[in-house]
Structure formats: structure tokens, C-alpha cells
Amino acid sequence: MKILNCPLNGPRNISEFVHGGEVRDMPDPNLCSDSEWADYVFYYENSITVIKEWWLHAPSGYWFIAERHTATDEILKTYDPSEIYKDRVEFSQPPKESVA
């Protein structure tokens, strides 16, 4: 059994968690080009390194961040997202759709 240390619930079996993908900045969907958006949604570095990623503790619905090595699978750190997201991220308003 592999253990993941949840910042909220403490050490739990990794089967209680859902992997949420790499932490990266989302481009403003209303201002970025299609190609930038595709890049954000589909393309990955997918390299051998320590990455920061989102994890969800499913039973408690709590999202947090873990730093994990993508080859050794060692989990180096886990913490609450507020440690890196200090401010609210704002995006522009979508253009009004005209209703025919």
C-alpha cells in the first residue's frame, strides 16, 4: 500500500486519492489563441523530474498539491494550495453571445 500524506487528513492509502494533473498556469481562455489553449489542455512536458501536481482526497473532497518524482514515485512534499495561490486568479469576461 502506498501512503500519501494529505495536508488535511494525514497519511492515507493512495487509493483514496485522485490524481489531478500538473499544476500550471491557465491562460485566459477569452484572450489566448486556440493554439495556446490546445497547448494548455493537451500538451505536457511529461519528463523525468520532480513535478508539482494536484491531488484530490476523494472522501473529503479536498484538493491539495503534492511534489512527486516522476520516476522514483517518491512524494517529497504535500501542502495546501494556499501556499502558492495567495491571490484570486481573475479571467476576463467572455464576449456576450448574440442570441438569434
Binding site: M1, K2, I14, S15, V18, H19, D34, S35, A38, D39, F42, Y43, Y44, E45, N46, S47, I48, T70, A71, T72, D73
Partner: protein
Amino acid sequence: MPFSLLKYGLNKDYPFEKHADLPAPTELKSSYDVVIIGGGGHGVATAYYLAKYHGITNVAVLEKGYLGGGNTARNTAVIRSNYLTSEGVKFYTESVKLFEGLSNEFDFNIMYSKRGQLTLAHTDAAVRGFRQRAEINKHFGGKTELIDPQQIRELVPTLNMNPGHLPVLAGLWHMDGATARHDAVAWGYAKGATQRGVELHQLTEVTDVIVENGRVTGIKTNRGTVNCGCAIQAVAGHSSLLAAKAGFKMPILSYPLQAMVTQPVKPFLDPLVSSPSLHCYVQQTGRGELVFGGGSDPYPLYNTRSTMDLKESLLAHAIELFPFMANMRLMRQWAGLTDMTSDYSPIMGLSPVENYYLDAGWGTWGFKSTPICGKTMAELVANGGKVPELIKPFAMDRFKTFQQVNEMGATAASH
């Protein structure tokens, strides 16, 4: 014992050297017309068809480990064409056709064994999906039918028709479903390619890709640098790492995929049986072992370790399907590194580097496509980068233009 065998036994030289399937290793040349990175089934199949159909033989296949030691050696060898999209079905149907003739073509037995694949539907939605897949498959020349529980009982009398309280409602019976000896496929292609002059370099790791003015000009390896007219990467789970060396990103994440096999028992299971709802498939090999496979690991990782979690979840489901298997013993477990795309279709064709071609994104389902990949990749190279019709839908660019080829429903847990 035949006298000749005794003579071989006492001979201090290995007597088969002159009949060896592969030529002895040589030094790398300074330059090749084509360098193929990755000596798995896809790499050697490409080399084979380049030599056979296009007369291009100044080709090196560079393999960091040994021939076919990657996913080619690790897959569960399911061959089928009952996918969902017309692009996919057309492509896989061609591959199944090629597979059927390979033993004859190689004069080397790949143990092609056509026993049909049965996929189980446990929900109404799955039944509807199967009906669609059966029609698409028939349209492109495959043999696939939707069958009812009575027909399923006749095909697989040992199957529990109410596994995990998910009653079996119907089945997708794919008569073309088959298996083959995966190693033999790589060996057959490698033998045919090297006999025609292609060089296979094992223990040769590509460490860098030299790109000048948007074109690849050379490949660096642990045994020196070679120049090349063009290059192809066919490195499965390592696709993103190679692409990074060539200077671009791919829409791929690498996940471990695990499988396992039991001790042999008497033959009782002819078709390949798969249950997408239970994330599991089971088949009996010619030697009597039962092979189990399922979905990829739950998160990306460059590692081929085995986990207890997967053994538990996969076997619990397998035992739902065949309860008497609970007493069997596992003999081996292993994993491979799979290059997953988000639409469960491959990435074939051009890359952002002009003469650097891609055969990637084969994830958990690329053994069955080995022949057609080799054939179409060879055509692409021989025509100087003109993409064959059959693989156009699989261009990497589809992710930039939002034209994915969604095979998820037909791939997950069936491979």
C-alpha cells in the same frame, strides 16, 4: 537422440552462428539515409517495409536495450479491429489482414491464433455502443456481431453471468480477434530487415537529436554520432523524452500498465474475454496460462514496478468473471511504460521538425498495429514526408485543431 544433436552438444563453438537469425553486431557507420530510434516491433517493422517495398536499406535501427524488449515484449498480444471511429477501424482492419499473412511472409512462426474476442456489456449504454461498433466494423470488412446471453453461455460456459452484481446483458463477438507471439513478431521483422541490409544496433541509446534550421541532421548515441537523411522515433513510453531532445512537446503522458499470468492449467477458455465495466480482460495462452490485464495505473510515472493495489483490484474483478480462478497461483507480474494520448488514438506522421517523423501515442493498444504502422511509416519516409491517407487522421496537429479521434470507449481496458 539424433547424432547431430549430440555433436552440437559437444561442440565448443556455437554451431548455429552461420544460421543465426540476426547478423553479428557491427560498428556504427558515420551516416545513414534513415535512422529509426527504438527497436521495438514498430521500429523494426518500419525498417522491414522500407527495405522490402521501397528498396531503402541504408537504414539503422537504434535500440537502447535489446530487440523487442520494451512494450513489444510486455503486451498481452490482443489483436483486434473492433474499434469505434471509422478512421480507427479502417486502420486496424488493415493491420489484422497483414497479421494473418505474417508467418508465411517471414517463413517464421509468429503463432497467430485467431480465437475471437468477446467483450461484455453490463449496462444498456454499453449495449448501444456495441451495436454501433458491430455495424462500423462490418462496414469495413471485419467480422463482429452483437450476441445475447445464451450465445455467450455457449461460447464461454465457465463465465459467471452475474459478476459483481453487474449482469451480463450482451456481448460484442469479434470473430477476427486473435493473439500472436509478440516476440516472434519483432524477431520476424528484424530478421527480414537485416537480411535485406538494414542494421540493427542493440545497446545503442539515443542521447540527443541534432536539429539544424528546423531539420534533423544527426543523432547522438552512447556509441558516437551518426548523420542521417531523416529520422523516425518509435519509442513508446519514452516518446516525450525523445521529442524533448528534438525540441518539441507532445500531447502524451506516460503511465505504467501492468499485467500478470498464472500457472498453466488445462485448456478451458478459447475466446479472449474482456469486460470494460470491470476494467479487466482474461485469456488463456497456448501453454495454458491465464493472462490478466486491465487499465493503466491511476497516475503518470516513468517506472515499471508492480503494485499490490493493481493485483488486488484486477484479480478481484477477474475472479468475479471466473470465480473458480480464486484458487489459481500467479506466476509472474510485469509492467510496461505506455504513452497515452487523451483521445486514445496514436500520433503518427509529421512533427515540428521537418524530416523527423513520429510513431507514438500507442499507449496500451499498439501491438495489434505493428504491421500497418511499419507499412505506413515506411511509405511516409519513402515519399519524403507525404503522409499516407490511412494515417492522416492521426497527425499530432489534430490536438491543435481540436479534431481528436475519440477511441476511448473502444480502448479502455480492452487494449
